[in-house]
Symmetry: C2
Subunit: 421 residues, 2 copies
């Protein structure tokens, strides 16, 4: 018999159907026994009243894969108002070992390390799986917003010849006998591809050999990158980012039912120098501390009713060498951060687009051009003014869901201590 | 003035507009001078008749980025029937060096190595850019087909603790002082995620330390992976793959105008033993040689009018250890290749889904379970019968376009000799 999903049961009331999935939970009461079956769509309740049916349910083990044929029967107390009665159970794959993580409680049992050690099991918990569905929806929203604005998807090298953004925190590998490095971002490649398509995006892994063991650092994460040419300055990039974030939040809500924050048509924006004043920080602070970002989040909520706020113009000395300075005062930059509820969510800005500006910027920082030669070559051949941004997918999802640790919303996280599973 | 795209010119006949892009080509005739401007959408013809306007065009260099304001004037001989007259040209980014690759000829000039050395420039050639648009469209089609069939997108680790599919051809790296490896495929992770979502897909880079310097091997390529659970056998996977390939071909045609092959509702399928007979190969051949695949392609075209043919049941000893044997005769496997015009395009099959079957399969091959422990752990906790497939994006595009070398359709290829740009 053709299998149906748990969510389709209600449409089959009175009929005999087959469902299949995992033994999520059993409840063996005195007069009746329940099997809660979990499939990709949700949960189904199966009821055994006869001694024979009950014995079958008693013999099952949690997480075994089973196929159940039974009659769809109305029961107001069951999920979606129906349950399966008079079941015939066929075990497709039996679990013969104790479960290191239990899945039928509101949160997975066991410490986070135990959950991560047994990720293939722990990710089946509905809350954990839901977070990954949010990630998939956010990614789909990112793509949809950009495709609608004539951005072209690209795939760029993850093995590079030199550390790109900074020499530190880079994984080194043996590339056919030569040193190679894992790319910390597709930054340079997406810029060069502006010369081909004007507007490009990439969804892909980036790698940071983060020596910090914190709740928000991963050695590999998924970067949602976009870059666009023929801009006037960073404000054109911010306008695209606003629309992208709005579509991401909407797509998450549509697909998963996770309510998201409202994204204002015009997200409030403050210059870095003004941001310091609002946050009550000294005027010569080079960067925003977490406390400052929180204060700015509160200010945006209070003054603008917004969960989001842009901070623009970060000091040039705190931004990477490819950052475009603010034309009116090159102490500042045409860059921005987007804060969400007082925490940095996205970084972006306008980039340099002329070869001579790159060589001057590197010289001013005492860096050799040679390390960037293959990349800079492209800027000799005509590049328009351009800029872009990068969203860390796992951080975005963690902040949207209020997860304390980014590992809770990552399928198989990689960090300082973890290389398996 | 708001910039419009080259393709929008015809809709603005008689008006003054601004376009922007790259100096694709200049033609300086006796009585008139033409500037062909290239933007993301196409080409625009700009005409200078006065001595002053002509001098401006003469001073330009190819690939410089310019903004041109002029009057849209009908001219049946111009692209889309319009050209821009009485132009005012503003140079946004001037090219001051000779171009190592010329872009205005039917194919980029220079050898393939020269083109690859200057990829940021060479990829601007309309033919090269078009191939990357085909790749983007094929990827969009892959996703759309799977999303419509309730597959969930996942992102999995690219750094792993042990070589997955075979010990050879793997890149080794220093992972915080321990040995780590670049993933050769998301195989194990996508299988484990079937336990979470039943149906999953991933678009991401995979890495092979290929010691072969051929026209079809890359050290990094983009793998389009799918895996689905609750199947009867590999034929359920083949049915999904057929629909995925059809959607990919259709999306490429819709978005890029590249005509694709027809994909039959039912792609002909032959068992490996029968395939040998058709190809005229000895019955004890362990694998299909390229000549055999070509013969099968001709057979499928002749007998079934199909560009595609499935070969099923490859000998178990030629398939990876996770392959599910053919139940009626375990010499053969529940696996398949999809051939396109006589060349292998996709590999897939049903996988083992019970822990004990994995340990037995590894023992039979004399391999230790320990190397796969983190991965096999998940199979202790209940997995349904499942299978999947992987499509190499660059190979798919190369075969669709008839490109001789996969590097022609890859943005910044990585191979035995090439780690830059």
């Amino acid at each position: 018999m053709q299998r149906i999903l748990s969510t389709e049961l209600a449409a089959h009331a009175g009929r005999t159907v087959t469902v299949a999935g995992w033994v999520h939970r059993r409840r063996l009461l005195k007069s009746v026994a329940f099997l809660i079956l979990r499939d990709a769509a949700g949960l189904a309740q199966i009821v055994a009243t006869s001694a024979e049916d009950r014995a079958v349910l008693e013999a099952l083990t949690e997480e075994s894969v089973v196929e159940v044929t039974g009659t769809v029967t109305a029961n107001a107390a069951a999920p979606a108002g129906v349950e399966l009665t008079a079941p015939t159970v066929r075990v497709l794959s039996a679990v013969a070992v104790p479960l290191p993580v239990e899945l039928h409680r509101p949160a997975p049992t066991g410490t986070l390390p135990t959950q991560l050690d047994h990720a293939a099991l722990a990710l089946r918990h509905p809350a954990r799986a839901a977070a990954l569905r949010v990630a998939a929806a956010a990614t789909a929203g990112f793509r949809a917003a950009l495709e609608a604005r004539r951005f072209v998807e690209i795939h760029t090298p993850k093995i590079v010849a030199s550390a790109t953004e900074s020499g530190a925190n880079v994984f080194r590998l043996d590339y056919f006998g030569r040193p190679g490095y894992l790319a910390q971002s597709p930054q340079f490649y997406k810029q060069l591809m502006v010369g081909v398509f004007e507007r490009v995006y990439e969804v892909g892994p980036v790698f940071r050999a983060e020596p910090h063991d914190t709740a928000r650092h991963l050695a590999q994460y998924t970067s949602l990158d976009a870059e666009l040419g023929f801009i006037t300055d960073h404000r054109d990039v911010m306008a695209v980012l606003r629309d992208v974030v709005a579509t991401m939040v909407d797509t998450v809500a549509d697909r998963t039912g996770t309510p998201g924050p409202g994204v204002p048509e015009q997200i409030p924006a403050v210059h870095f120098s003004e941001a310091l004043r609002i946050a009550g920080a000294p005027a010569d602070e080079p960067d925003l501390a977490p406390a400052h970002e929180r204060a700015l989040g509160e200010w945006a909520a209070r003054e603008h009713g917004s969960d989001f706020v842009f901070v623009t113009g970060y000091p040039m000395r705190k931004r990477p060498f490819y950052t475009h300075p603010q034309p009116s005062d090159p102490t500042w930059s045409n860059s921005f951060d987007l804060l969400f509820r007082g925490v940095e969510l996205v970084t972006g800005g306008q980039r340099l687009h002329r070869y001579d500006d790159y060589t001057a910027a590197l010289a001013a920082r005492g860096e050799a051009v040679t390390a960037y030669e293959g990349y800079l070559d492209g800027f000799r051949y005509g590049m328009p003014a351009h800029g872009g941004f990068a969203i860390g997918l796992e951080r975005f999802v963690a902040r949207l869901l209020g997860a304390a640790n980014v590992r809770e919303v990552t399928a198989f996280p990689r960090d300082l201590h973890r290389l398996t599973p």
